[in-house]
């Protein structure tokens, strides 16, 4: 199992990013329903692991931080999901 993806918040972040080109920090926070600080800490871990990348942009003259899933993140996520499915299948 991928220890990094055992956290529900980090797993949710990757799942939010999977079908998107990018997602803004504010949108991730709204979708996942967690605090700024908590989400920021989880995102930092994912960035550090190379699972996601961070980009700063300006939208309507306001700063926006966007996140994008990396290839490594996508691979790790798919492997993790397969392992979760195997656990469920083994129990049935």
């Amino acid at each position: 199992m991928d220890d990094l993806l055992l956290s529900k918040i980090r797993l949710s972040v990757i799942a939010e990013l999977l079908p998107a080109e990018w997602v803004a920090f504010s949108e991730l926070q709204r979708a996942i329903g967690t605090t700024n600080g908590n989400l920021g800490a989880h995102l930092a871990k994912l960035v550090q692991a190379g699972y996601i990348s961070e980009e700063k942009a300006f939208v309507d003259r306001r700063p926006q931080t966007r996140y994008q899933l990396s290839r490594a993140g996508r691979r790790a996520f798919l492997k993790h999901i397969a392992e979760l499915q195997a656990i469920v299948a083994a129990a049935q």
Partner: protein, 192 residues
């Protein structure tokens, strides 16, 4: 990890993917490009019936140009408002723009060379757009897009059986394949 916990994690992922990918289809894109399809086909029908000259296609061309502007504006607005750019949104917009560029080129060439019959641009546009819908629909396993593509493709096939009403039938196909799903998407829009 226990099976119960694994199931819970899989459910979280499943819910997020379903909401994120299919929660907010690009409704305006569908409506706008449906209107373009209707404009070209009504133009083709009027020309075929002798109610208008080939200049009618230039009016449809203006509609196409306006659609391109609205489409780009909507994509930019949607991204800003949603704080995300979904893969389905990007693919739909880029596919529509590509089909529109090809359509515009063919219309201009058709007008300049008179090489194609009057209804050729509208048929080609419908064929291109149905290809876009079917590719996106089946590729992303998104049923409304696939059904829209099938409706439009079906209208092209029926139109060839009743050629005198080709434009009107394909215009109806555009309404069924683009405008109706677009309106439904807009009405049932979620916040996710």
């Amino acid at each position: 990890m226990e099976s119960r916990q694994a199931t819970e994690h899989l459910d979280i992922v499943s819910d997020i993917l379903h909401r994120a990918e299919f929660g907010n289809p690009p409704a305006v894109q569908f409506i706008v490009w449906g209107i373009v399809g209707v404009a070209f086909n009504i133009a083709g029908q009027l020309v075929t019936l002798g109610k208008a000259g080939p200049q009618a296609f230039w009016v449809a061309g203006v509609v196409l140009a306006l659609a391109l502007v609205v489409s780009i504006w909507d994509m930019s607005r949607t991204q800003r408002a949603a704080g995300r750019l979904t893969t389905i949104g990007r693919l739909a917009a880029v596919s529509f723009w590509t089909a529109a560029a090809v359509m515009g080129t063919i219309t201009i060439l058709s007008e300049m060379t008179k090489l194609f019959p009057p209804f050729a641009p509208s048929v080609l546009f419908a064929a291109g757009m149905s290809t876009v819908l079917l590719t996106l629909g089946f590729g992303l396993r998104f049923r409304p897009l696939a059904l829209g593509g099938l409706a439009l493709l079906g209208s092209i096939v029926i139109a060839f059986l009743i050629p005198s009403w080709l434009g009107a039938i394909i215009a109806a196909g555009n309404v069924a394949g683009f405008i109706v799903p677009g309106v439904l998407f807009a009405v049932t829009k979620t916040d996710g």
